[in-house]
């Protein structure tokens, strides 16, 4: 047989045999995707427990939390949290959730597993870089976890690590010595892992699409992963320099971010000059695109999954892709909206506000198209589709609050209040995670060969859906009342009357958190005991459903897939009496 150059390139690595090569240092994108998912799963439970600890302290500050003194005798003597330990837990909660959960799960985990399959490739473009990117991310995770165990504790400067608090070292307070060093090193290493991953996604999407898989025929989530990887490449390429400069300020005596004349712990700091706002600009130049890295893959996943359960095509497929690209592009122009009251030039505020408001337009289009896709559907209600529908609802809620914050005049009042906390939790923690849940319920059969339990899945959905509204909707009211964020306790006159609301939120958070164990149980139990899944249990169109369940090592068993249709052929009359046409089917959909 004439071994063509493409198939030669495709057989870049043969199937591994040893345990280490199969499950640990694997070059197979499917294994790497599962590894990322596992890391994200571990991280989200850690992050969730941290949030419980925070909420318990906010509701009942004097109540000793059982076993907390075992985690840190200094941070929680007799189980009662010190103010600095609250800030440590808060910093780690934000950092772990944003980096190790929201950048990993919807993007690195599902993207790694499914992008090559969805475009008909045998693996990612650079499998060795892919393996390196996961293990680099894992090393970053270890450094981050180490911060819990150093004597001074984890850093207390928030996931945003503003200078000079994060840059001067131990004089600024507890948790700002070794803990902050470990944090900065961890994030720098994380940047490298993410850059490697993004590079792989881009090269794979551009070069490894199989015959007939034009860009226009790519599934929506593949598009989302592609746009996200471009954003990630440029964003993490800015965070890494910022971390390097921060580390140098901390250990090498430089003054990038620390101005002259500061007095901390009664000591005049020796720096000769430095720009505090420089850190904020560098950080948010990364930080704003980062939040779109967190949400875009979930938007893509929902756009991919919903039509399969609505049994009709996604409305406006080209507009959907156009909006994703527009959001990716605009995401680089808005970072200053985190800095309206930061002391930067007030004229810049207007400059940043306009594109921030403009991003509302593609986001609104996406939402309306999703709602319009539900219109007239013959909806199949499963755990996966419920989370897609729930996504639409929470994305609306989260997006609307952004509208307020985008305006500098209103942001004067709402900045640094719980209104902001409500906004970003709705869009990131809730909407993005809903996309991950939907993806899990949808793709679990393909990844493991077994179905998840639907009854447990629906229970998980309802408890979570009601729960997140109980947790985060009240935070808007708190913000409007002026409730400042990042406070470890509420002692001010105007805050004390709001404590009952916090207690309500805490209880809701504990219940909603407990509900996630239903999901965890379902995942593990179904992995071993779930009913065997067929090749295409959801009657979906994209390429992952055209291969065995789970897919073989090289994804398609040596076959070179040919693509004839786009991913959106639902609700069409096919020649064999079905209501959908798969991408690999030579049959063309009748023109509508």
């Amino acid at each position: 047989m004439h071994e063509t150059s493409a198939s030669h390139a495709a057989h870049q690595h043969t199937a591994p045999t040893s345990f280490i090569r199969k499950y640990v240092f694997s070059l197979d994108h499917k294994v790497i995707g599962k590894q990322y998912y596992g890391l994200a799963l571990l991280s989200v439970f850690i992050g969730m427990v941290l949030s419980w600890l925070m909420r318990l302290h906010l509701g009942w500050p004097a109540w000793p939390i059982p076993m907390l003194d075992k985690l840190s005798a200094v941070g929680a003597p007799q189980g009662v949290m010190t103010p600095e330990y609250y800030l440590s837990l808060m910093t780690m909660h934000g950092t772990i959730m944003v980096f190790f959960v929201l950048t990993n799960a919807p993007f690195a985990a599902f993207g790694n597993y499914f992008l090559p399959i969805q475009i008909g490739a045998e693996d990612m473009a650079f499998p060795r870089f892919n393996m390196m990117s996961f293990w680099t991310t894992f090393v970053a995770f270890l450094f981050m976890m180490a911060a819990f165990f150093v004597s001074d504790g984890p850093p207390i400067s928030g996931w945003t690590a503003y200078a000079p608090l994060s840059a001067v070292g131990g004089d600024a307070g507890p948790g700002l010595a070794m803990g902050q060093n470990l944090w900065a090193i961890s994030i720098a290493i994380f940047c490298i892992g993410s850059l490697l991953g993004a590079l792989n996604f881009i090269a794979t999407t551009l070069d490894l699409r199989t015959k007939g898989m034009s860009l226009a025929r790519m599934p929506f989530c593949s598009w989302a992963w592609f746009v996200t990887s471009v954003i990630a490449l440029l964003a993490f390429a800015v965070l890494l320099p910022a971390c390097i400069l921060l580390i140098l300020d901390r250990v090498a005596g430089t003054s990038f971010f620390i101005p002259a004349g500061l007095v901390l712990s009664d000591k005049l700091q020796p720096h000769s000059g430095g720009s505090v706002l420089l850190w904020q600009h560098l950080f948010w130049f990364f930080g704003h695109p980062e939040v779109y890295i967190a949400i875009l893959p979930s938007i893509g996943i929902v756009c991919h999954i919903l039509p399969a359960f609505a049994r009709k095509p996604l409305l406006g497929p080209r507009a959907t892709i156009g909006c994703m690209i527009a959001i990716g592009f605009l995401s680089y122009m808005v970072w200053g909206h985190h800095m309206f009251v930061s002391g930067m030039n007030p004229f810049s505020a207007t400059l940043f506000s306009v594109p921030t408001l403009f991003i509302t337009i593609p986001a609104t289009i996406l939402t309306l198209l999703l709602i319009g896709s539900v219109y007239g559907a013959k909806m199949r209600f499963t755990s996966a589709s419920l989370f897609c529908l729930g996504f639409i609802s929470v994305f609306i809620s989260g997006g609307i609050s952004g509208f307020f914050l985008a305006q500098p005049s209103i942001d004067i009042y709402l900045h640094a209040t719980y209104f902001v906390v409500a906004h970003f939790h709705f869009v990131m923690a809730v909407a993005s995670l809903f996309g991950v849940f939907a993806g899990t319920y949808f793709w679990f059969p393909k990844m493991t060969g077994r179905m998840m339990n639907e009854a447990l899945g629906k229970l998980h959905f309802w408890l979570t859906f009601i729960g997140v509204y109980c947790i985060f909707m009240p935070m808007h009211y708190l913000g409007l009342a002026g409730n400042v964020r990042r406070y470890s306790a509420f002692v001010d006159d105007f805050l004390i009357p709001l404590i009952p609301v916090h207690k309500f939120i805490t209880i809701a958070a504990l219940i909603t958190g407990a509900a996630q164990f239903i999901f965890l149980f379902n995942l593990i139990w179904s992995r071993f005991k779930g009913p065997i899944a067929s090749e295409n249990p959801w009657e979906a169109t994209s390429l992952e459903w055209s291969t065995t369940t789970p897919p073989p090592f090289d994804n398609f068993g040596g076959k070179h897939m040919v693509v004839y249709n786009g991913p959106n052929e639902y609700g069409v009359q096919s020649s064999d009496g079905k209501d959908y046409i798969m991408q690999t089917s030579p049959e063309k959909a009748p023109a509508s």
């Binding site: 490894l208 440029l234 000769s272 420089l278």
Partner: protein, 228 residues
């Protein structure tokens, strides 16, 4: 649902590369009009990598500009003259790299034109690659000399923001260059083994990186010269 695959032996190289358009047929059979898949994705990957590196140096550049304008403590100093010599050396290494690539590219035709044998071309190109590596190494050593010059003037990493950025930029560039040299030896090894089949050696992708390092250095030199 019948999923259709191409029959075994079908020439994927002539497929539509996912574009959905009819595949182009090469006018000269055997002549490579498009890059094969391996070289194509290596080049794509390299352009992507180069974009990321460029972006991070852009971030450092804006950091420097902001820092310089933030306070009055910026002290200018004389750039060590060896930097200019180093620049010429690095530029020369790009020339030697291209000379090497020319020889590799001539190998497929060498069978027909017996003036120079394929073996001689390969040997010659490998020689030029070693020269490129040597020039790269000399560049890095030259940078170390520049550092010593600065240290002799009492300018260290934390002495002044200007010296901080000097060390930072030159060190980061040198680190990336050394990484590139690692890549160069990887390419050399593959070339020797493949006997000159340039497509699979990664030489084209490598040259993107190396020339970028060159351009990046020229940019950094101008930046440092203007601002310090």
């Amino acid at each position: 649902m019948a999923t259709t695959t191409l029959p075994p032996g079908a020439d994927i190289a002539l497929d539509d590369h996912g574009s959905g358009r009819p595949p182009e047929v090469s006018p000269r059979p055997g002549h490579v009009t498009k890059l094969g898949p391996q070289a194509q994705k290596s080049e794509t990957g390299m352009w992507v990598a180069v974009s990321a590196i460029g972006m991070s140096f852009a971030a450092f550049t804006s950091a420097m500009i902001v820092r310089q304008d933030a306070s009055t403590d910026w002290q200018r100093f004389q750039l060590p003259h060896v930097l200019y010599l180093n620049t010429l050396i690095l530029l020369a290494s790009s020339v030697t790299l291209e000379l090497s690539r020319q020889r590799i590219a001539a190998i497929p035709d060498a069978a027909r034109h017996a003036a120079v044998s394929a073996k001689a071309l390969l040997a010659s190109s490998i020689y030029w690659l070693y020269l490129t590596a040597a020039l790269g190494l000399i560049f890095v050593l030259g940078q170390l000399l520049a550092w010593r010059n600065l240290a002799a003037q009492g300018l260290f990493l934390a002495t002044n923001p200007s010296s901080s950025f000097f060390y930072l930029f030159t060190a980061l560039h040198a680190v990336h260059l050394l990484g590139g040299m690692g890549g160069l030896f990887y390419v050399l090894r593959k070339l020797v083994r493949s006997g000159g089949a340039g497509e699979t050696s990664g030489l084209s992708a490598f040259s993107i990186y190396w020339h970028f390092m060159d351009l990046l250095w020229v940019y950094l030199l101008l930046l440092l010269a203007m601002r310090m």
